[in-house]
């Protein structure tokens, strides 16, 4: 929420989604999930109270990374895998800007995995939107580090043998201070999560399930389609018990450290269920590990929402404090004096 302190003036209040659109021809395949994400981001932007000129969207390379062209804000379409490093450099230099990274599963977790975990660890106040389609879209369909084992793609004709990342667990492992998940096909939830990511002060890691209808169609359909969504998706709400199911008749209980599904009724009530607390670091680890293959027998539903949020000092704030302390202790530097040094004499 870097610029939220600025008073929302009338001009910003009057902005609409249209003001965030550009005249660029959108070059995603018809039906691509990226369209919905773009629409929701354009809807949310006028509500966050940041002038357009104070927003920067930084992307790497991939289909998702075309995003900055379509947003009427500042943008950088950068290097494959490096958006998180470039964003870190920008935020360190201009902490007053609202910085958003738009990246793909390949971009941020494969070639850019290194910089991504370091951004999270340092806790720059940057919002990372990870468009996860479990495939390399732009290069026409090779498996990615989030593709499931056995996935047959152009570069894995015999089925992938790579164990995939669990992105939210990875973000927790890197000490991300905000970790959440949402999906392209649920505009309301997506909008709410974008707002939450913005409001969080610190690194926000928001994984967005995104359908690549050309190279990996239906990868998340079990979570997004009406027929299966209620049974497969567990929406997390702060302070609310973990309830899901078409009839809202199922819940999650902790059996020791293991989450188990229980049916409500027959003596089991909402009071027996796990109540979600975003501030609970330990429980967030368990939630992110609810990552079962939805085709497996007796699998757990997959959680969507905010797994974890904590107040941790941002890197740019720590840097500012360190600079101020140094100035307080040693006085404001005088470059001219430094260059001249102590041994200066005049030749007459």
């Amino acid at each position: 929420m870097s610029v939220a302190e600025a008073p929302i003036n009338e001009a910003i209040k009057a902005l609409t989604a249209k003001d965030f659109a550009t005249d660029q021809e959108v070059r995603w395949c018809p039906g691509c999930g990226d369209y919905s994400i773009l629409a929701q981001v354009q809807k949310v932007m006028p509500t966050i109270g940041v002038p357009r000129e104070n927003i920067v969207i930084i992307s790497g390379i991939g289909c998702s990374s075309r995003f900055p062209y379509y947003m009427n804000t500042y943008g950088m379409h950068s290097i494959h895998g490096r958006a998180t490093a470039i964003a870190s450099g920008l935020k360190a230099s201009r902490p007053e800007l609202s910085v958003w990274v738009v990246t793909g599963d390949g971009d941020s977790l494969s070639i850019g995995g290194n910089h991504t975990i370091h951004l999270l660890r340092r806790n720059f106040d940057i919002n990372i939107l990870l468009f996860n389609n479990q495939i390399y879209g732009l290069t026409k369909g090779q498996y990615s580090p989030t593709s499931e084992v056995k996935k047959v793609t152009k570069s894995s004709p015999l089925g992938s043998i790579d164990h995939p990342f669990n992105p939210s667990a990875l973000a927790m492992g890197a000490d991300g201070s905000f970790v959440g998940r949402t999906m392209d096909r649920d505009p309301k939830h997506l909008q709410m999560m974008l707002t939450r990511a913005h409001q969080h002060r610190g690194a926000s890691f928001l994984e967005i399930y995104q359908n690549c209808n050309i190279f990996n169609d239906g990868a998340f359909e079990i979570f997004t389609e009406k027929a299966t969504k209620p049974e497969e998706v567990l929406f997390l709400e702060q302070g609310k018990p973990l309830i899901f199911g078409a009839q809202q008749n199922k819940g999650i209980k902790l059996d020791g450290f293991r989450p188990v599904v229980v049916e409500l009724g027959n003596g089991v009530s909402a009071d027996d269920l796990w109540v979600h607390d975003e501030k609970d670091f330990y429980k967030a680890q368990i939630l992110t590990r609810m990552f079962d293959d939805p085709r497996a027998d007796n699998h757990l539903p997959r959680p969507f929402g905010v797994f974890f949020e904590s107040d941790r000092l941002c890197y740019e704030d720590a840097m500012k404090m360190q600079i101020e302390e140094a100035v307080a202790a040693k006085g404001k530097g005088n470059l001219d004096k430094l260059l001249r040094g102590n041994e200066i004499w005049e030749i007459l």
Binding site: Y136, Y143, P145, S155, P157
Partner: protein, 356 residues
């Protein structure tokens, strides 16, 4: 028996890797060469070979480092941005004296550039893209046939010199379809037992694969040893092709795709009575400086034609050593010159020289 197939350049390259006995391939997708990874992912396992999609090109080249260190014939391929990422690894591999084959299907840059063909990576390829004093043989295929042939040659040269070899192709040659013949090939028997990490029996000394020599005296000796290898390459590995040079007054110098276009331009120009020949370097390092020096006295002008803003021209100038004017013609950004436009430029230059 020679097999003849109609293939895309990138596929011919991949097929050649299999036939050349490549034991391990590591790659990361990038247009316009993802077909190499895809072809090998499909075909290598059938031959019991290793193929892996790496997490980046930095990983690919270091996986090659590892596999080559075990004595495997190892290879990677990419296109310009990915090859930039490999430069650190290439420098270390050359320093550690390991053989491997690296293929660059050049696209137009700098930065992300475009996926169309380019020759902007000439400097990076031939002048040491990574740090330190090292060189590598650079092969420049100009046809689908050479996309295959240079793989066999490249692996053999890498083994011969225990040094990385680079094939510098481009997006057009990688993507075009032509007939290609695969001749029977026998992998040379090369004894790698003194350095490959194949275990330490009593009969063998411990060996460390490293490029580090802390004492400058030792480091200098290592550098001198490397330099001696590079001099051997300069002495023995220069390769080029020439056309109509015998009575030529003018000369095109071009490699790879631009040499293909120049061949056509040469025919058109000769049809107009201009006595022009073509020198096509096949190795960009070592460079055919000597042949250029020999040809210089008979020439009125040399035209270096490249898909960049003038890189190889510096080597052409070194070759003719001031004996004849060297001019440049190039297109950029993935654009390709037509043979006619090259001839037009040539005619303009000749007219200017003749003073009208």
């Amino acid at each position: 028996m020679t097999e003849i197939k109609l293939m895309k350049g990138n596929e011919a390259l991949a097929e050649a890797a299999i036939q050349a006995g490549c034991d391990a391939y590591f790659g990361y997708p990038i247009t316009p060469q993802s077909e190499v990874l895809e072809y090998l992912a499909r075909e290598m396992p059938k031959h019991g070979r290793v193929v892996m999609q790496a997490e980046s090109e930095v990983a690919s080249i270091n996986m090659v480092y590892g596999a080559a260190g075990s004595g495997f014939r190892a290879m990677t391929s990419s296109s310009s941005p990915g090859i930039s990422l490999m430069q650190e690894g290439i420098s270390y591999i050359a320093g550690a004296e390991l053989p491997c084959l690296i293929v660059n299907v050049n696209r137009a840059g700098p930065g992300l550039g475009t996926i169309q063909p380019g020759q902007g990576d000439y400097f990076q390829s031939t002048k040491g893209g990574g740090h330190g004093d090292y060189r590598m043989i650079v092969l420049a295929p100009a046809s689908v046939q050479e996309m295959a042939d240079h793989v066999f040659l490249g692996f053999d040269l890498a083994d011969k010199y225990r040094n990385p070899v680079l094939m510098l192709s481009d997006g057009a040659i990688g993507q075009m379809m032509e007939k290609v013949a695969f001749k029977p090939y026998k992998k040379p028997d090369i004894d790698k037992s003194s350095w490959a990490t194949t275990g330490k029996p009593k009969t063998r000394d411990r060996n460390y694969i490293t490029s580090l020599h802390i004492q400058p005296e030792k480091m200098e000796l290592h550098n001198l040893k490397l330099e001696e290898k590079f001099n051997q390459m300069r002495e023995h590995e220069v390769r080029y092709e020439e056309y109509n040079t015998k009575e030529a007054e003018y000369l095109f110098v071009a490699y790879g795709l631009s040499a293909r276009i120049c061949q056509k331009a040469m025919d058109i120009a000769r049809g107009k009575g201009i006595k022009i020949g073509l020198l096509r370097p096949i190795t960009l390092f070592p460079y055919p400086y000597k042949r250029l020096a020999e040809l210089a006295p008979q020439l009125k002008m040399v035209l270096s034609v490249e898909l960049n803003s003038g890189q190889m021209i510096e080597d052409v100038r070194l070759g003719v050593n001031g004996k004849v004017p060297v001019e440049f013609f190039g297109r950029l950004g993935g654009m390709m010159p037509t043979p006619e436009s090259i001839v037009h430029h040539l005619e303009t230059l000749i007219m200017a020289r003749n003073g009208n």
